[in-house]
Symmetry: C2
Subunit: 471 residues, 2 copies
């Protein structure tokens, strides 16, 4: 390994090869402090050429490499294992925004650009870069692409995959694929781009990307509405999809128990809807015409929803500050859960037509088998994406409860996901967290196809091994 480290010095300046514990440590634990690993070294390349040279050295020396951006992932995909034999390749120095192309409505960014920096750069040119998620001040676009990140704008603009037109990738051979084209149509062979997106650094290392930009909306209106049942919220969603179509940019659901927890830890985040109804839905419309136009449209649809008894109450934000408060309420559920103590999380997607049956049946099963638990169910309902989390009964020790009940609760919830043809990872990826369960979830044929692809593109198994799929 000494030889390998010496070879690295021929590629990178000494200060960009971290081997001392105090220098390495910040890169060895994820943001949520759930995973900690060891590393031979942390390397900080500045260019795709440097990344390629490093990978060639890894290939020669059989050293595994863990690519890393902001290290904000939820599944341990960017944390090295405990062997101390892997290197972490952190891309934060590759943080140049290479180009904004106004006529083509694209932005070319390096993997280490912080998401918020890209949003701000786009906004300065009167464009929207729609990818938006909780970690946007820390996460990097390379990690967003590697995990195909979701977030709150998927309903209108799609996942990270849908926002990407081209990639620059370093392969397991240490070659650079320059696929940085900003084209909306390109049918020249296999879709390499989408193969690398979402592969969590196991098939190649994304070093840059061409991303789509959109015109900035000139007006947004946000409302909170109360619904009595899941089926009402789905019918309400379909109504908004039909009437507002692509003006609908947010449709987030929060259950009573989720907002009870919020209020307990953040009293200022109490639900402004009277009596905290069974289901509170945050709806956002965005418009490029005029404030009056979108406000009128929102009111018309809400009237229709009242008449059809889909909703029982509604509050429209009067200004941007109040709209932000509504969104903060939604975002604080995550923080309230952290305050309350670790719970059992499920980031799942269910087809909208099966959502009612999923929630009713799973709620009943969970409550029957684990009396007193709290079901903190909230999420991006417009995408069928629920964060269906189970907290212990009030007063019960979280650690002890989770230790005993983690396996049976996961099994129960995931069995329900399978019954409904859903996904066990909507937007957080696989990483190491969901590696074990993936074969059963995907089925033998798909899982074998994944292994075949991994073996073909990384035959030495040096790119983020034992993440997503083990070969």
């Amino acid at each position: 390994m000494q030889i390998f480290l010496e070879q690295l010095h021929q590629v990178l300046d000494q200060k960009y090869i971290l081997t001392e514990d105090q220098d390495k440590n910040p890169y060895l634990t994820d943001w949520r402090k759930r995973y900690t690993g060891k590393a031979l070294a942390v390397v900080l390349p500045r260019t795709a050429q440097e990344v390629a040279q490093i990978i060639r050295l890894c290939a020669i020396n059989q050293v595994a490499v863990v690519p890393q951006g902001g290290h904000t992932g939820f599944c341990g995909g960017a944390t090295p294992d405990s062997s101390g034999k892997q290197i972490v390749l952190n891309l934060k120095r590759m943080n140049t925004i290479r180009e904004i192309d106004v006529a083509n409505q694209t932005i070319t960014v390096e993997a280490g650009c912080i998401l918020q920096a890209i949003q701000e750069k786009a906004a300065a040119q009167d464009f929207l870069f729609p990818l938006s998620l909780g970690a946007e001040g820390s996460c990097m676009i390379g990690g967003n692409l590697a995990t195909n990140a979701g977030g709150t704008n998927v309903l209108r603009y799609g996942n990270t995959r849908d926002l990407c037109l081209g990639l620059e990738v370093v392969t397991a051979k240490g070659e650079i694929w320059n696929g940085l084209k900003g084209l909306r149509k390109d049918n020249t062979g296999y879709d390499l781009r989408d193969l690398f997106i979402g592969s969590e650094g196991t098939l190649g290392i994304i070093t840059a990307a061409v991303m789509k930009l959109y015109p900035l909306p000139i007006s947004q209106w946000t409302t909170l509405v109360a619904a009595d049942s899941v089926v009402s919220t789905i019918t309400l969603l379909n109504l908004f999809q039909k009437r507002a179509t692509s003006l609908l940019t947010g449709f987030e659901m929060m259950t009573q128990e989720s907002l009870d927890l919020n209020e307990k830890h953040f009293p200022q985040m109490a639900n402004p809807l009277k009596g905290n109804p069974p289901y509170t839905v945050l709806i956002e419309l965005s418009d490029h015409e005029s404030e009056a136009h979108v406000r009128q449209l929102l009111e018309t649809i809400l009237e229709e929803a009242f008449e059809a008894s889909l909703i029982t109450d509604a509050v429209i934000a009067n200004n941007l500050a109040q709209a932000n408060t509504f969104w903060h309420m939604r975002e604080h559920i995550t923080l309230a859960q952290a305050e309350e103590g670790a719970n059992l999380k499920h980031d799942i997607t269910i087809p909208l037509s099966a959502l009612e049956s999923f929630i009713e049946e799973t709620d009943a099963l969970v409550r029957a088998k684990f009396p007193g638990v709290r079901i903190i169910n909230f999420g991006h309902l417009g995408d069928g994406n629920l964060h269906y989390n189970i907290a212990p009964p009030i007063g019960v020790d979280h650690k002890a409860f989770n230790l005993t009940n983690e396996k049976p609760i996961h099994e129960l919830v995931y069995a329900q996901v399978e019954r409904c043809q859903g996904s066990i990872s909507a937007e957080h990826g696989v990483g190491q967290l969901k590696l074990e369960g993936l074969r059963a979830h995907k089925g033998e044929v798909a899982h074998e196809l994944m292994k075949t692809l991994k073996r073909a593109l990384d035959p030495q198994n040096i790119l983020n091994p034992h993440k997503v799929v083990s070969i």
Copy 2:
């Protein structure tokens, strides 16, 4: 081969294994009659299980299989070679629409469903299935997926790839991957779906798919406008993108020479804009609110375009019949070219920011080197997709001209495409037509990655060999 044919009879009824010339012939020549091959047999399975059994027999007997839908492709991707040793696997009997899921806004269709049948089934339930292209009365969704078809609605709804949520695929091993999930978010491993889409049957055979549906617009307005320059059309596009955003569903450009040709062969298709301007643009807005709303928006934007001198004339269609006439004018360019005699076609994409330079420079080079030729340049400008076709000078024999000039003209145009970082196949795919040029276009690294994928997923090279990529 006799043994193989006998084994096939254990899978399919005699009448679905065509071996007589008169039965096979309709499957051996493509729609445009540019490619003709031979086949050992044409097989017509009804289920994914039958397809899988056939592929297993092909694998055992080393027989190559050419999957086929409506056989309307432009690049010979679904035509067998001349050896007579391949079989054609036509999917037209797999034409069941398995399900429409209203709440989930999805439709599950078998590969042999005709595109128009899917559009009609969707419309009967008040949904839009947006994929729309010239061959829609004959082409099948399996072929649309295999080639990632484009068409006139890409600007708003994306390519076929963007409309697909899940697939059922028979692999080269004869296994069935059931990936028929209707989920908007699913980050559980590698993107197998997008790998099969656009692979033209060379990595697996798509037997069914879950496709997205959209609410039907309630009003559409179509206009023709006149522009003096390419840069005006691009600025006009950006203006419409900013003001109308997703209400903009069509933005098609036609040059003066394209419409001259139209008028020559179809006088009733003459340009209604005075004097047939250098660039005629067809613009369509679609709305879910009201006719008055979208009409008003269109007029406002056109006023702004006049004031900014982006356009010199405009005609708004007064009714649906006139709107259809505008679209027919656009579509008749293809027919007018056929009437005039074969020309040299280029289905290309150019980044919008490079389009002006591409057209001006390429036009000048073509006219200088091939005096008197007519440049029939038209296309989906909103996607940067041009059909940049070269017809011989008036009075010159088409066949003789094409024979002499095909190679240098293709080389000139494609060199310009490379200079502008464009694509040599925007929406028609690779098939056999563009197989040779692909390595140079993609670059060595991407082309090797494609070969690696082909070898990994089809090691015996039995799935549509020598299409897209040769191994």
